[in-house]
């Protein structure tokens, strides 16, 4: 518990997490408002449509999570941390937990904020969250944000350099996973096992109300939505375990 | 110092650290490697063609953008930008020299990637129709260097404006790979905005008239033809650079 408090103090006593959180919330919710305002009979507003910008928030939160580790390496405070907590693993787990919980909260704020502002703007649209699909699409966002943050902390711990970690995370999540689909035949088979595809599958599976091109590509996922979430969680936590093992062995 | 000396200075600076080499190697190896994987998996239903061989070049471009941004932000991080400005006090010329060196290098990497991807496709599927025999196909392959060069100019400009590595890299990557696509989700006006976004225009320059199973080669809604799109793209990138240079000149170093 003490270590959680330590990491909370560390995270909140610098500016960049505040910036990232503010950016993730305002831009995502703002874009949801813009989308809602432009819906019409041809493109009707729905719960799914209100959530279509949440990927942006997720990416910003991943940057925040990676920075939480890489700035410690950059400024040498990781050594001060390891002097105070020589076990290292507990300290890094505490950091991961704090960052993941925060990411989860931001995810919920982003999701319900987007939904709420859309409801306000188009009071007549069918925005009731009355199916498990819709609940998953909105309330599930926090889980996806939290697990993405775990993945980002793991990559940050492994790479240690800000530029490297941020570039790897963003290029992978935003570009590689979709470009892989260009490979004829096997591309989609590979995509069906890629972690962010599963994160998207968890959020949007069975959700019919997405405009063309906004959802995940038509993939034949090996799991249902909750299986996809478990798979995404397993990959994130697995990478974290590797990162912790490396950090424990490596000279600080 | 004259401009030739400044170019030499920037060349030395760039090549005497490791990260540009890593970025260039990564951009070339992964892009060409993926072109090989794509080519190896083509068949009658998904036939290999010139545009298909170029399907992964965007990956190379974003890596080169990271390299270009780092070329500036690392100077701010390590304080060497001050030494640079002490050696050439007008500031604009050393920054222009840096932009030139980075842009030329990016163009070169772009051409290597484009022709490398094309060449490896030909090697793997010698029977595929890979002849470069239309202006559109030439543009698709040889134009890659131009797109890379202006992408690098934009990245240098953002690097100068933002100065911080993490922020510059995040802004560039999130904008290029995510925002440009997400904007399209906004009903009715989204696609209209998208037409004017730079990535859409650089894509149109490369892919117009090159239809394949990976892209329609369309862009009929685009406001300009392929070369007009390139000009527009270049103008926005250079415009950002001008703003960045003005800011750098006025700001305390």
């Amino acid at each position: 518990m003490t270590l959680l408090a330590v990491e909370r103090i560390k995270l909140f006593s610098t500016r960049s997490p505040w910036w990232c959180m503010a950016l993730a919330v305002t831009l995502t919710v703002g874009m949801a408002a813009l989308i809602a305002a432009n819906t019409n009979d041809e493109f009707p507003l729905s719960v799914g449509v209100s959530q279509s910008f949440s990927n942006f928030g997720m990416i910003v939160i991943m940057v925040m999570a990676a920075l939480a580790v890489t700035t410690e390496y950059r400024f040498g405070t990781i050594r001060a941390t390891f002097l105070a907590v020589p076990g290292r693993v507990q300290a890094l787990i505490a950091k991961t937990v704090v960052v993941a919980v925060l990411a989860g909260v931001i995810g919920e704020v982003v999701a319900f904020g987007s939904w709420g502002i859309s409801t306000l703007i188009k009071p007549n649209a069918d925005m009731a969250i009355n199916s498990s699909v819709e609940w998953r699409n909105v309330a599930g966002t926090g889980l996806v944000f939290a697990l993405s943050a775990v993945l980002a902390v793991a990559v940050g711990t492994l790479v240690r350099q800000t530029a490297g970690a941020v570039a790897i995370l963003l290029v992978y999540a935003l570009l590689v996973e979709s470009l892989i689909g260009l490979i004829p035949k096997i591309g989609v088979n590979i995509q069906e096992w890629m972690p962010f595809m599963h994160a998207n599958n968890f959020l949007t599976a069975d959700s019919a109300a997405l405009p063309e091109g906004a959802g995940p590509p038509r993939l034949d996922f090996p799991f249902g939505p909750w299986g996809s979430l478990a798979y995404f969680a397993a990959i994130s936590v697995g990478l974290l375990v590797v990162a912790l093992a490396v950090a424990k062995k490596r000279d600080a | 110092m004259d401009q030739v000396t400044l170019l030499a200075v920037e060349r030395i600076k760039l090549f005497s650290t490791r990260s540009p080499w890593w970025c260039m190697a990564l951009a070339m190896v992964i892009t060409i490697g993926m072109a090989a994987v794509i080519a190896a998996n083509t068949d009658e239903r998904f036939p290999l063609s010139v545009p298909v061989s170029q399907g992964f070049t965007n990956f190379g471009m974003v890596v080169i953008m990271v390299m270009a941004a780092l070329a500036v932000t690392t100077e701010y991080r390590f304080g060497t930008i001050r030494s640079t400005f002490l050696a050439a006090p007008d500031r604009v010329r050393p920054l222009l020299a840096k932009t030139t060196v980075v842009a030329l290098l990016s163009a070169l990497v772009g051409e290597v990637i484009a022709f490398g991807s094309w060449g490896i496709g030909r090697l793997i599927k010698p029977d595929a129709d890979m002849a470069l025999n239309s202006a559109a196909e030439w543009r698709n392959v040889a134009g890659t260097g131009l797109v890379f060069a202006f992408a690098a100019v934009l990245a240098v400009a953002v690097g100068i404006l933002v100065r911080q590595t993490a922020a510059a890299v995040a802004i560039l990557l999130v904008y290029t790979m995510l925002l440009e696509n997400l904007i399209g989700i906004i009903p009715t006006i989204g696609p209209k905005i998208q037409r004017w976004l730079i990535g859409r225009n650089s894509d149109h320059f490369l892919t117009a008239g090159n239809e394949s199973f990976i892209s329609e080669g369309g862009g009929a809604d685009q406001p300009f033809g392929p070369w007009g799109s390139l000009a527009y793209y270049a103008a926005v990138c250079v415009g950002f650079l001008v703003v960045a240079l003005v800011v750098a000149k006025r700001r305390d170093a």
């Binding site: 103090i9 006593s13 040498g76 941390t81 390891f82 020589p86 300290a91 000279d251 | -």
Partner: protein
Amino acid sequence: MIEAAGLTKHYGPTVAVDDLSFTVEAGRVTGFLGPNGAGKSTTMRMILGLDTPNKGQALIDGKRYSELKRPLGTVGALLDAKWVHPNRSARSHLRWLAKSNHISDKRVDEVLEMVGLTAVAKRNAGGFSLGMAQRLGIAGALLGDPKVLLFDEPVNGLDPEGIVWIRQFMHRLAADGRTVLVSSHLLSEMAQTAHELIVIGKGKLIAQTSTEQFIKDATEDNVRVRSPHAVKLRELLAGSATVTSDEVDGALVVHGLDPASIGDLAAANGIVLHELSPQRGSLEAAFMQLTKESVEYHAAES
């Protein structure tokens, strides 16, 4: 007490620390002396469990650093004053450190007071001068009121006032019965700070001895004598002292007799002296002599 036994660290083919053994006793300031690149920082990092030695181990009061329950309560260290987040306030920096070892916020304010940073506690550490950053680092080392303290080059870049302050501070800590290990590449600084010296070069132990003894051994007293009857004087001195000739002007350099005895001897034999001057070797010259072999990079002779 700190005990290092056979500490060895390689970085690829480079040997940074080579089979290094020493002990640091409580109740006095022990200087850790060596030229730049001798392996002082690496050794301190191995003592503190930041780097893993390839061979050997370092124990603090009989335990490895990683076995300490509340490490900051046992060991305080200032390795690099820049190890703070520039956008975090001095107080926040100390608060998270304190929290991690169950140390109260009251203690944070105490150590800030101790090092004289109370007035700037809310300011971001990135804006601190080097002297203030060093004080913040020392405050961090003192948080847990530890019995053992390690300082890596604490006076580097400080103004004279700061140097005196740190020196007195370390003496006070040692007088309380604490173990204090402080590294430096300047013998003149250590001569005024340390009671005991551990001298290393190229990762190897050169000497562990009291500072007084080290200086005595390192700076032998010689007497320069010039006389028109040098040959005769040399014969007379040969029995009781070592005599060499200065290569430049032919003066005699006498080792083993004080100037008074030499003067008496000359007068008794009717020898005229043109010069009789005691020569005290400089500390730095002696140190350079001792570590000459082990300096990593030499400046080119001009």
